[in-house]
Symmetry: none
Subunit: 200 residues, 4 copies
DNA sequence: GATGAATGAGTCTTCATTCAT
DNA sequence: GATGAATGAAGACTCATTCAT
């Protein structure tokens, strides 16, 4: 799209921002956001300190950007996996997605540690927004709505969704990261069963 | 003010520790633990800075002690309220306790903000330990065990308990403190219903 | 907006410098020179940062240019007002000018704050230079010289002039901006009387 | 007054504060307050950075303390010198003090540079406050009051005092530090003459 | 001429913890 | 036991100026 020459400069600029993001993500994952200084980030990215503030207003700014991006990524990874799921009943579809989400968290523990504070909330928001989302998520939402319509509490559909969301993230986080009160292998069946009960 | 009688000395010693705790609790509640400096605590307690380190290893130390104590207090408050509950069925008893717990959180929002990170875990631990607990809690635990024995997953009783615990705290915290995705008035029925479904 | 006719180019060039000056002046007046970053100036002028350094060597450079220009402006404003003053005696003429100057400062307080450090000195220089000044100032200078010639210290005419100048600016600044030790309404008579005494 | 031992610790504490002040004063005089970093001050005093903030709230804090102290010192130096002045007439006494003050400024040029912004105002305040000052200043004030009572404007005595104060400091500063529009040797007679005229 | 991305030294301030008295 | 002076590493953020395009 861009001219070859004009693209060079814009690309370079973008590249610096990306380098900053990548360095920050690595450091945040490895040592946590609190233990990471802006100084560390710029050193990691190989740019000057001022450059950081050219692209981000503060450390909190880059952190929230990374968390948002990575959360979305994790959700979409789970969504991709869930796509192929072909269950006859709605509830199996939804529970199947929860299952995939748990697997996604399990696959990237440091990331889970970084984002788990915001994960459930972002997950909930992704579910809610009817625009800008991919087809899989919209379909999932449809299944969920169908489920709720048949249930005894259609008016509280969103709150039930939030409950499922919180339960999923809380249980997975404890099982995967802290291995308490049990590892994810033992915990997952309990989680899925609980979700199933809440929804049916 | 100085007690004339011997024994005042031991009391004095204990008293300093207590004063430190009280000052810290007030400050932690009012401004948060991060925003409270050891300096603030000792000023509040009217002792010297070095004295703080005579009784506590670090700021984290006093924080966790306070959180543990206050969490236990909140749980017992709920327990006291739940004591009189006379329901014919086990499940009603357990759900009744969750209800009381929600009310206890609701009554002391600043405390909830301070302890919510550890609340569910401490709650779970209280339930688990068969010693040092009061009769009400032990009875509750019995009811819960009966419930699980009848269910399809008696071996996972503890994990189900953890699930209930996490769900309760997560939903209550969001509803009470952040009022998201709804206030506690709307959220509580959904929570109690979900708990009931998980347990039945 | 682009002028069709040639010459627009030269105007354009000049225009950028002017825009920079105007933006800087506004910002300096409103927030002070220290609190104004070059960044703010170029944003205000709608030009790139590098462009600033095409026209000015530094921030100090543009500041001193503005201060000089604005000081001259204020002096000339006072001069214009004083032009019509028709007093029979020389001293009344000079005191009348001081009076007008005070009024000029009073009319533009933010400007006074910006330039007061250099005001008296610039004022003195304007009086001294016999070239490039308007007729009113030259006439004023004549009256002053007449006055000094009659006095006991003709050789120190310039120093007396400086004294008057400093006294005027110092007293006016404190009275107008800080309202200390009194407002300009009470201070002006004292100032004019003091000037009159110094000169007679 | 203090016990020998108890005095040791208090003295040590005081000593550190003093070291900080001395280091700061030297640096402020030599390079100006703006060009001096807190880092420089603590290095100069041989203490840790945190120690600085144990005794002063900020750089501005120590600066204003030093300026106040040094200003008072300079005024008292002049006062001491003026003490012996035995003139028959009030005006000679007052003018004599101005003379001494000029000499005090002249003797310590770097200090004059540091404090000249606040000098005239502090001088004025010292004159005004009828308490906590030494006898010489009170006597001076009496002479001045007598003078004003005889004059045509007794109600404006304080304002005239302020005028004299401003004139003295402004003229001295320019003559001594900048040597403009003339050195202090030529300027002083003009200053004293002007003061005399203002007061008579 | 014009641009604006990049620089990086420089600044103040906070605070948990120690230790000599 | 008690004190509180001293520590000093750590940290976030600013901004005048340069220079490759």
């Amino acid at each position: 799209m861009r001219g070859r020459i004009a693209g060079g400069i814009a690309a370079k600029k973008k590249e610096k921002r990306d380098r900053l993001c990548e360095a920050a993500e690595t450091l945040f994952r490895d040592h946590g956001a609190d233990a990471t200084a802006v100084e560390d980030i710029v050193r990691g990215a190989g740019v000057a300190k001022g450059t950081f503030y050219l692209y981000f207003r503060s450390k909190a700014d880059i952190l929230s950007e990374i968390v948002a991006a990575k959360t979305a990524e994790m959700i979409h990874r789970a969504l991709r996996k869930a796509e192929s799921l072909r269950f006859p009943r709605e509830i199996d579809k939804v529970v199947g997605f929860v299952d995939e989400l748990v697997e996604a968290m399990r696959r990237d523990v440091p990331l889970l540690e970084l984002i788990h504070h915001n994960l459930s909330w972002n997950l909930y928001r992704h579910f809610l927004s009817r625009t800008g989302n991919d087809a899989t998520m919209r379909e999932l939402r449809s299944r969920f709505d169908d489920l709720m319509r048949e249930s005894s509490r259609p008016a509280d559909a969103e709150l039930v969704l939030f409950a499922v969301t919180e339960l999923t993230v809380a249980l997975s986080y404890n099982a995967i990261v802290r291995r308490e009160p049990a590892g994810i292998a033992r915990m997952k069946p309990v989680l899925l069963d609980s979700v199933r009960r809440i929804l049916s």
